[in-house]
């Protein structure tokens, strides 16, 4: 079974990526959260999701790339606020997969070299995607950039900046925006079963000496790919909302690969100085302004969305309160596992069977996931590092902890010397779910579609800014060619829906 198809350099690079993920996971889990829930069995569903990710991600990522390469999807990610940013791709994609692998190694069901080609492929997909998505800041991820994400190009940032409506504490827009942000955050935690994965932030971007801008995304809000929102979110008119927000006298010191931020001083609503609102998805020509025609319209839009999300929150909470533990486990596990499902939406290959079911190879572990064992195993996997597989030579010192441990088991180089390995865990198997089946109704910027229609349209669609003519007109090119007709076209195309910059092109800065 030994097949020397993997090179030494591939293994070296894969192990470097694995180690980076392990170091970051420890830091994030140690410093960025302590979570508990009396409503959801959170640790149990997280563990189930990791196993589902291990058994299915390799095949599903290959299926996605058969339709659209990782780099192409990542380029599109800069033109929209879908769940193909952080924490989905920046952290969850490799780490859910690797944590599933580590569980199976702990159980003795996997050797480090098993599924070797899967591991190499998943990490390579992740690297290619992140380098493409982060091409404007030139880093692999926020961790490498010192906990910062400057994803967007100048032309988009200029629009987000210039189209902001200024606001002050006490005015109607400020009040409406503040209420909306809180309600949308609350709703986001609920729809994602006590996780923050429907919310993300990127930036910060410097506006002037006193102001920074951060871009906030609220995702999976409407009736789309989460079956538990069928019905209860019918009146939520957008599935993805993007909120550029300027703040005064507040520096965002951390924007991490979970999409969480931290600021000095602590961000509070009185520091909110400007706000905008957009929607987008796999079928939109970039960001579409929402209620941005006037200050009054934006205020009213925030108020309307606020009410609709509060009502959806109330209905969804009552639905969840009636769930069985198995239903909670499935909803949570699927929320985590399908955190990368929007890759399939963009590539036009989304299938309910792929993203909304638990593979039987993962499902069989369900009896192990009582609350106590789950809490302990999850804690050991990400922070405790006291499982046998974590232990290294006593001379070693892990980053951050200085202990002789590591989060993830590297691939062994001995396969290059003839040690046999198994290439892949194989194809996904027919899965199950305890939840009510997904209704074939997907809210998009082109209306409510069936999944077949959504996929068909996605496969046929390339946003104008992502066409070959413009795709590689990067920030370096713009720096030296901004006076050319092509640069003017590029900027005017981005400015088509801008209230303040439409038709202005790439003027001098």
């Amino acid at each position: 079974m030994s097949r020397p198809e993997i090179s030494y350099s591939q293994l070296l690079e894969t192990n470097n990526l694995i180690q980076n993920c392990g170091d970051e996971t420890y830091w994030l889990c140690l410093t960025r959260t302590v979570q508990g829930s009396k409503l959801f069995p959170v640790s149990a569903y997280i563990l189930l999701s990791y196993l589902n990710a291990f058994y299915r991600y390799p095949t599903l990522l290959r299926k996605i790339e058969a339709s659209m390469p990782a780099e192409t999807i990542a380029d599109r990610a800069r033109t929209m606020g879908m769940k193909i940013q952080n924490s989905a791709i920046g952290w969850a994609l490799p780490n859910f997969y690797l944590l599933g692998r580590e569980m199976l190694i702990t159980f003795g069901m996997l050797r480090p070299q098993d599924a070797l080609e899967d591991v190499v492929y998943v990490m390579d997909f992740w690297k290619r995607y992140l380098l493409s998505w982060h091409r404007n800041d030139g880093h692999l991820n926020n961790r490498e950039y010192g906990q910062r994400a400057q994803i967007l190009p100048d032309r988009r940032l200029e629009i987000f900046h210039r189209d902001l409506y200024l606001c002050e504490p006490g005015d109607a827009l400020h009040e409406a925006a503040h209420s909306f942000l809180a309600t949308a955050s609350q709703y986001g935690f609920l729809i994602s079963c006590e996780s923050r994965i429907s919310l993300t932030n990127s930036g910060p971007y410097r506006l002037d000496d006193r102001h920074e801008m951060i871009v906030r995304d609220f995702m999976d809000l409407g009736e789309c790919a989460l079956p538990w929102l069928d019905g209860v979110a019918a009146d939520v008119p957008y599935n993805y909302l993007t909120v550029p927000m300027s703040v005064r006298d507040c520096h965002f010191s951390i924007v991490d690969d979970w999409g969480s931020f931290e600021s000095k001083p602590e961000f509070t609503s009185d520091k909110l100085a400007g706000i905008g609102l957009y929607t987008s998805d796999a079928l939109s020509e970039g960001f579409i302004p929402v209620g941005m025609a006037s200050r009054e319209e934006l205020t009213a839009t925030f108020q309307l969305l606020n009410e609709k999300m509060k009502e959806a929150t109330r209905k969804l909470w009552l639905r969840i309160a009636g769930w069985t533990r198995d239903q909670m486990l499935d909803a949570g596990a699927l929320t985590y596992y399908n955190i990368i499902k929007d890759l399939a939406h963009v590539a036009g290959v989304f299938a309910v069977e792929d993203w909304l079911t638990i593979d039987p190879r993962a499902e069989r572990f369900r009896p192990l996931f009582n609350d106590e064992l789950s809490d302990q195993l999850l804690g050991s996997l990400v922070v405790g590092h006291d499982l046998p597989g974590h232990r290294q030579s006593p001379y070693t010192m892990m980053q951050h902890s200085d202990r002789p441990v590591r989060t993830y088991t590297p691939l062994p180089y001995s396969v290059l010397a003839g040690d046999e390995y198994v290439a892949s865990c194989g194809e996904p198997q027919s899965g199950t779910s305890h939840l009510v089946p997904k209704i074939d109704r997907y809210r998009t910027t082109q209306g409510v579609l069936t999944i077949d229609d959504y996929n068909r349209r996605a496969r046929a669609f390339t946003p104008e800014l992502c066409q070959d003519k413009y795709r590689f007109l990067c920030e370096t090119w713009v720096k030296y060619h901004h006076r050319t007709p092509l640069a003017q076209d590029l900027y005017r195309l981005e400015q088509l829906k801008s209230r303040t910059l439409q038709g202005k092109g790439a003027g001098p800065r």
Partner: protein, 247 residues
């Protein structure tokens, strides 16, 4: 019996948790037996064969053997204990919000009432420093039933939520109506702390409190310095006090 690769781990030591060690050992034994019985080389066993040879019934057996020893699991989600009380420790009223209930943390800094009738009854970590302390009536929110009660009747104005769930979902439909929050768990980065900051609700996380009962008038020192990431990393204690006030 055939050996597994992990049987030759040079550095591995058992996990600290006895429960986790027992489960890992039990699963390792299971895999060893199935691998041996299959008579297959590992490369044929690891996925294609073991996918079917190691079953859900096997893992139910792992759970059963643990329970047969008399062990009962601690629960964290109320639904877990309610659905299968036979495998979890007793609830012991831990989900109720009865008027007689009070958190009773051994590390709570408590004291006798001062001249104004203000008695220390604990401390927590301040999410955001505010110009003034928060004062209100303590209302325990520890169960779905209590949330539904507040959904139906409304949260009385000036209520301070006393919570032991640092998540953002149990209280989702009612959280915005509280004038303050005391959470006996989590950190300022927990979902509840994040939401308190977004809503602008004064909030103390990771609180250690005693002697607070539903309906008590309480004061939270939300004018104290906020907890910071640096303080978590260095282990520096930054606490805000909690008092029970004279009725």
């Amino acid at each position: 019996m055939k050996k597994l690769l992990i049987d030759d781990d040079r550095y591995g030591t058992p996990p600290q948790s006895v429960l986790l060690e027992a489960v890992c050992n039990s699963v390792n034994d299971l895999v060893r037996r199935r691998f041996t019985d299959s008579a297959l080389p590992w490369s044929q066993f690891v996925f294609s064969a073991s996918d079917h040879l190691i079953t859900q019934a096997d893992f139910e057996g792992v759970e059963k053997r643990l329970l047969d020893t008399g062990y009962r699991f601690k629960w964290s989600a109320v639904i877990s204990q309610r659905e299968r009380p036979e495998i979890y420790c007793a609830a012991d009223g831990a989900a109720d919000d009865a008027a007689s209930f009070s958190f009773d943390h051994p590390d709570a800094l408590v004291g006798e009432p001062d001249a104004a009738g203000r008695a220390a009854c604990g401390q927590g970590e301040n999410v955001v420093r505010r110009p003034a302390n928060a004062i209100g009536i303590a209302r325990y929110v520890r169960s779905s039933e209590r949330v539904i009660e507040f959904m139906n009747k409304g949260v009385p104005p000036g209520s301070i939520a006393i919570i032991d769930d640092s998540g953002g979902t149990l209280t989702a439909p009612i959280l915005e109506h509280f004038a303050g929050i005391v959470c006996a768990g989590g950190t300022i980065r927990s979902h509840l702390g994040i939401l308190a900051r977004e809503y602008g609700i004064p909030c103390l996380m990771n609180a250690k409190v005693r002697r607070i009962r539903d309906g008590d008038r309480v004061e939270l020192e939300t004018s104290a310095d906020a907890m910071t990431a640096e303080a978590y990393f260095t282990g520096e204690a930054k606490t805000a006090r909690i008092w029970k006030l004279a009725p």
